[in-house]
């Protein structure tokens, strides 16, 4: 948690650092890294109940489109909240339908959900369909760093929620459901309520991150906003960083996005091959992620 505080502080002062001609690039990369880390933290929240979602790309997209469509009418901040709310409603419906599904079956159902959502946005008139839509910058472009600080805020919120949840009684319920759902029920854990609550929290945060993402790219298309690639990143980051922790997805997200960007600059064409190989190596040799590896080196501790 101290580490998270330091990182967030760094994020706050990053725009003031004398980076010269690199500044715009650094801020852009950082903003993307923050949003993706936020998404990863939100994914991890749901994963704590044992539900491996492939719908987080869709929650992200729902948030992005909702915020983009409503921002001209109700303003930036309310539109972001609307995005979070729509993502949460989507997750509630999905959650009700998938409550009894586990493991692979759950993952496939969430995958189907994200395909349905993408097709809907693709076919609906008001979204611009496959052509995509232009998104207004946050606060009508009055603050050049507005989008950046929104991303910092969203990441801070995701870190805070993730941390508070892991400190609460809720986390025992989630871990119990993940490690043995029937036993958890017999012990009195209200499984349905806990799963739905995790779903709502997790998707609202994902939708929030998506809303800020749209205002950063200034353009949304169904292929980008609902890409399966992002759903995969949302789960790769926590697995790489350390599942069921706050530090894991946070550090994992910042590192992986930085790594990916650096490789793209150094290698250019085909950089994803190297990125993929590094990921495979990490997962092979760090089965409990960065956080698990670090805490074992320090001699045990809570992972």
């Amino acid at each position: 948690m101290i580490l998270a505080g330091v990182l967030l502080l760094l994020a706050l002062i990053l725009p003031a650092l004398p980076l010269g001609s690199w500044q715009a690039f650094a801020l852009d990369t950082a903003q993307f890294a923050f949003l993706l880390s936020g998404l990863a933290l939100s994914w991890d929240l749901l994963a704590r109940t044992g539900q491996l979602s492939l719908a987080h790309g869709a929650f992200f997209g729902l948030g992005a489109y909702t915020a983009a469509l409503t921002a001209p009418l109700i303003g930036t901040l309310p539109s972001l909240l609307a995005g979070a709310a729509v993502a949460a409603v989507g997750s509630f419906l999905l959650g009700l339908a998938t409550l009894r599904l586990h493991g692979m079956y759950f993952a496939i159902a969430t995958l189907a959900f994200s395909e349905v959502m993408r097709t809907f946005v693709l076919k609906a008139g008001f979204t611009g369909g496959s052509i995509g839509m232009i998104v207004a910058p946050p606060f009508d472009g009055r603050f050049p760093l507005g989008g950046y600080y929104l991303a910092v805020t969203v990441l801070g919120l995701c870190v805070l929620v993730s941390y508070l949840v892991s400190r609460s009684r809720f986390s025992y319920a989630m871990a119990a459901i993940r490690q043995g759902e029937p036993v958890a029920r017999v012990l009195g854990v209200p499984v349905v309520r806990v799963k739905l609550l995790a779903f709502l929290l997790s998707s609202a945060l994902a939708g929030l991150a998506g809303g800020v993402y749209g205002m950063k790219t200034l353009f949304l298309s169904p292929y980008d906003a609902f890409s399966l690639g992002r759903a995969v990143e949302a789960l790769v980051i926590p697995i790489f960083g350390g599942l069921y922790t706050t530090t894991g997805p946070l550090v994992g997200g910042l590192l992986l996005v930085s790594l990916e960007t650096w490789l793209r600059l150094r290698i250019g064409e085909g950089y994803l091959v190297v990125y993929g190989v590094l990921l495979i190596l990490a997962i092979l040799f760090l089965p409990r992620g960065l956080v698990g590896w670090l805490s074992r080196r320090r001699g045990g501790g809570h992972a």
Binding site: R169, Y172, A173, A175, A176, Q179, G180, P182, V183, A184, R185, V186, L187, G188, V189, P190, V191
Partner: protein, 238 residues
């Protein structure tokens, strides 16, 4: 305290539990025995709510809980330890117990739950192992954990499914003492057991099941002398 009427569960063509009616009285230790496949564990699953009956009703402390999900039954005071131990493997012993103590009764404050856990750790002799991850426990410790976790839900009626299976005689006798202590603290106990000396030592009353049906009930000596029971255990041709 617990009243079953005509409880029936079918799996396809097999009637695993066939019109079982019985009553467990407050404060007693009640044993369910019978050959393998008699439907004992299925009966326990029906009582704790992991399975829903196809027919019949279940009443607990005057409430009809036939359709209640397992968590609601836990809140009303039904605790259950499994035959195949199922600890939460990534948690320590203490955390395992804390799940039971926190959620066994709705809105239990953390401080109260922690106190319950300490008491149960002492009672079951698990205190020295409190910080051990559950996946590192021996079978004996696993069995204790299973029992301890159920106790942490502060049940009025504790359902025990072969908690002695796999234990050495000395360990089994320790467990018998523990169950006596649990009853003395005011908890009614319903247990399934294969070890007859344990049943004889513990049970106030015994129900014998065979092919899903209750074929005899009464005190141990009465039941043991029953010709139908002997037939069920020794085989029909004997």
């Amino acid at each position: 305290m617990l009243r079953l009427r005509g409880l029936t569960k079918r799996f396809g063509g097999l009637v695993a539990v066939n019109e079982v009616s019985l009553e467990v009285r407050e404060g007693e230790i009640f044993a369910v025995i019978g050959p393998n496949g008699a439907g004992k564990s299925t009966l326990l699953n029906l009582i704790c709510g992991l399975l829903r009956p196809d027919a019949g009703s279940l009443e607990f402390q005057g409430r009809d809980l036939t359709q209640a999900p397992p968590e609601v039954r836990a809140w009303h005071g039904l605790g259950r330890a499994f035959q195949i131990v199922q600890p939460f493997p990534e948690m320590s012993v203490r955390e395992n117990l804390l799940v039971g103590a926190l959620f066994g009764k709705p809105r239990t404050p953390m401080s109260k739950a922690k106190k319950v856990v300490e008491e149960v750790l002492e009672l079951t002799g698990l205190a020295p192992k409190a910080e051990t991850p559950a996946h590192e426990l021996t079978l004996l410790e696993d069995k204790r954990l299973e029992l301890a976790r159920a106790l942490c839900t502060q049940p009025r009626l504790l359902l025990l499914d072969e908690v002695m299976a796999g234990l050495r005689p000395a360990e089994a006798m320790e467990a018998v003492e523990l169950i006596r202590k649990i009853r003395a603290s005011g908890v009614t106990v319903l247990f399934i057991e294969h070890l007859m000396p344990v049943v004889r030592a513990l049970a106030d009353r015994v129900v014998v099941m065979d092919y899903g049906q209750v074929i005899a009930q009464g005190v141990y000596d009465e039941v043991a002398a029953n010709p139908r029971v002997r037939e069920a255990y020794l085989g029909r041709s004997a």
